[in-house]
Symmetry: C2
Subunit: 456 residues, 2 copies
């Protein structure tokens, strides 16, 4: 019954355990069958009683056998064992198309990550033994405090640490918002605007209505809308800045509906002349603005850190659900970002990046200057501009032709819900992701392709 050859690769008790287990699974050792006593089996196999005991103990733990005191060991009643086997899911090769050049406006430079200084604060963070072990669902107090100071000085937003909640990407902040916003919220969304948000809202069975923007931003025509999701500092993707008049109009509107404005301040750090545009939140007397921002563009998208400022009444609601959504950002990263801000690296990094991006912007723009085929719609901010091509081409046609040559580029229509209202194709030139050399190569290929397409 126990014809077992031991090898040297594994502990004896494990080999015995595996053997008995296999016999039971195969059905060769049947239900309630009595196993040899430990001493008998040890003698039979020429191993120690201890080894047998170890194997039996493990089999008991896992329920393969059971023991009756002073009687012996028996095979457990394991009714019908299904097709027990380890299943190996085949690895599906789903490699993304690797573009050589990428005009995606959601990326920033590989070389932008502030390695040296971030390494410095990371190492400092490792010594913050106490903070490394703290837990706070809103995020560490130290980081909220750094963000508070940053918001005050850079965005003219004066809030308390208590009102700040740190999380991962925007979708995780919305996960919280979905629970604390009024149940009957109907979101007004900018058209054109972010597309991902639509899917997120639909997946969560939330109501939304797209509203066209004009030069000043969203225009509310459908009065069913109760809350707004807008990008006042730099409309995404057109780059328009919302003037004070429209800002106040919208604040008045949500005060009447009892709703909120969600202000997505996604790239306000990048304005290349004059003062930064103040956040709408800085005007928020009625306390109805939820301010959302992140460190994706200002430090790195791979840090996956965003944050929001809640109005007081939403904060109170948040306190009641807080325990179910722990802050997903590792402490070490929170401490590092806090130090990065407090020790002045953040400002230095932003200044450096502003210069780099401004240089790239000017460099990219220079290729289209004086060329009547192109009209640049440039708002002097952010990490992209819009390029109108005065030719009878469709954006899809251009996108496809570019993809064939290894260039990722999107037309503005991708950000529209419903019909587009402009004539000529408008392509989005995100320049943050490429070096000047890459930009030059990419734009030259781009122009070559446009020429050959319009010649046809």
């Amino acid at each position: 019954m126990f014809s077992l050859n031991f090898n040297d690769d594994e502990d004896l008790f494990v080999q015995l355990y595996e053997f008995i287990k296999a016999e039971i699974i195969s059905g060769r050792f049947s239900k309630d069958m009595m196993l040899p006593s430990k001493r008998n089996l040890a003698d039979h196999l020429g191993i120690s009683v201890n080894t047998v005991m170890n194997a039996y103990d493990n089999l008991i733990d896992e329920g393969y056998i059971y023991s009756k005191e002073r009687v012996g060991y028996f095979v457990s009643p394991v009714e019908n064992i299904l097709n027990i086997k380890t299943k190996n899911i085949n690895r599906e090769i789903s490699r993304e198309n690797n573009y050589k050049y990428n005009f995606d406006l959601n990326k920033n430079s590989d070389f932008a990550f502030p390695n040296t200084n971030f390494k410095k604060v990371l190492n400092e963070a490792l010594f913050e033994q106490k903070e490394l072990n703290e837990r706070d669902d809103k995020g560490l107090y130290s980081l909220r405090s750094s963000i508070k100071n940053y918001l005050k000085s850079a965005r003219n937003v004066d809030v308390s640490e208590e009102a700040i909640i740190i999380s991962s990407g925007m979708e995780y902040l919305f996960q919280i918002l979905f629970y604390i916003l009024p149940e009957d919220t109907i979101f007004g969304l900018e058209n054109p605007g972010y597309r991902e948000i639509k899917n997120l809202l639909e997946m969560n069975e939330k109501n939304y209505i797209y509203q066209d923007i004009d030069e000043s931003g969203i225009v509310i025509k459908n009065k069913d809308i109760t809350s707004l999701l807008i990008t006042p500092s730099h409309q995404f993707p057109t780059g328009n800045i919302m003037p004070i008049g429209r800002r106040i109009e919208l604040l008045n509107y949500v005060q009447k509906t009892g709703g909120y404005i969600i202000e997505d301040d996604y790239d306000s750090e990048f304005k290349y002349y004059g003062r930064p545009i103040p956040a709408l939140k800085s005007l928020d007397g009625p306390d109805r603005v939820i301010y959302i921002s992140n460190f994706s563009k200002s430090i790195s998208p791979t840090l996956r850190v965003s944050f929001m400022v809640l109005p007081k009444n939403l904060l109170e609601k948040y306190e009641s659900i807080k325990p179910f959504y722990n802050c997903p950002v590792p402490n070490i990263i929170q401490i590092s970002i806090s130090k990065f801000i407090d020790e002045g690296y953040f400002e230095k990094h932003l200044n450096r990046m502003r210069r780099i991006y401004d240089d790239k912007r000017k460099f990219a723009l220079s290729f289209f200057e004086g060329d009547k085929l192109y009209r640049v719609i440039d708002k002097k901010a952010g990490l992209h501009f819009i390029l109108e091509i005065k030719a009878d081409l469709s954006e899809k046609e251009i996108e496809n032709a570019m993809a064939d040559r290894g260039i990722f580029i999107r037309g503005l229509a991708n950000y529209y819900e419903g019909e587009i209202k402009y004539k000529y194709p408008r392509m989005i030139i995100g320049y943050g992701n490429m070096s000047e050399r890459e930009l030059e190569e990419a734009i030259e290929i781009f122009k070559e392709i446009i020429n050959s397409l319009s010649d046809k």
Copy 2:
């Protein structure tokens, strides 16, 4: 009109900008009022035309004024400005009760964080320029690959990298599961068991039914249940190990319902004798087990990294929603953990922690040995044991008396839905969070309190 005293603290153009803005907000400069020309104002204030231009440009950007070409600058029609002011939410002091001693079973040691080695891999990670900039919604391939190898060797779970999804805490994994599990899922939950999950399910309007456990684990009495959330390796909080018979029974059950078993393998690393209990997933021939685990107990809860393995058909569903939930874990942390595993630090750390926790466990147990007032329910695994106190006391009474003396401790009843079925109070002794000295102090006070309570 422009009685303005400049100071040295700020740029002149900013001071001018602020002055004009304040005049407009206050209503002193009224709608459509014409402003002086740049030259006139410059002369009047004794500053450069450039400075005035900068101020005007910013005011135009923000919509406070507008310009008519060849006519001049005018105050914008900003209808009724509401109570514009910066609102400062008072900081609410909500300091948690700071306990001196903590028997919480969800914490582990401050001194457990593997500082030196984690610092090493963190620094190495900073050089992985390419990976630092990669994006993968499931988590970085390198970390999934490390987890795959770990699961194979340590948990006997043989899956592909493609089936592994990395996220933050368990609640974020559930956020994904809620979208991909069948809509009519009715979850069967262990009683006693995790309490947080109940709230999460309710907030997401999911159906669930508590089922009592016996020595072998959950017993399904209500056949409406379609899917199960269980802790087979080490039932939470009783510590029971689910025997093979029950495992197969449950696998057969969900195969019939078309549902899934969510296996929470939360602390399987900590078993102090014999072989680790294999994961239920290792038996998953029918491919109906969702395996969930995390690095909270094995590295640090402050890393906030968990992961799951999806069965093939759920994986296909996941692929369709993937874009809306980006992996929330910073790349630098993912790379570090991957290196931590691959370079052998993880195993070393686990071995070290197993020894530390085993020592602590024995140390804590030694205080109750031979004392007839206490019965220890110890399953020789995990980071806690259950202590039954044979006295006519309620758990609440004990909790409160302990809290008064600075000790955080919970009774088992906190993990029960409905009536409890045992007579004497059962307290949970989580020993992972304290040093031996603290344990000694805490247990001595504990025993003192129990004595004085039972004397009354």
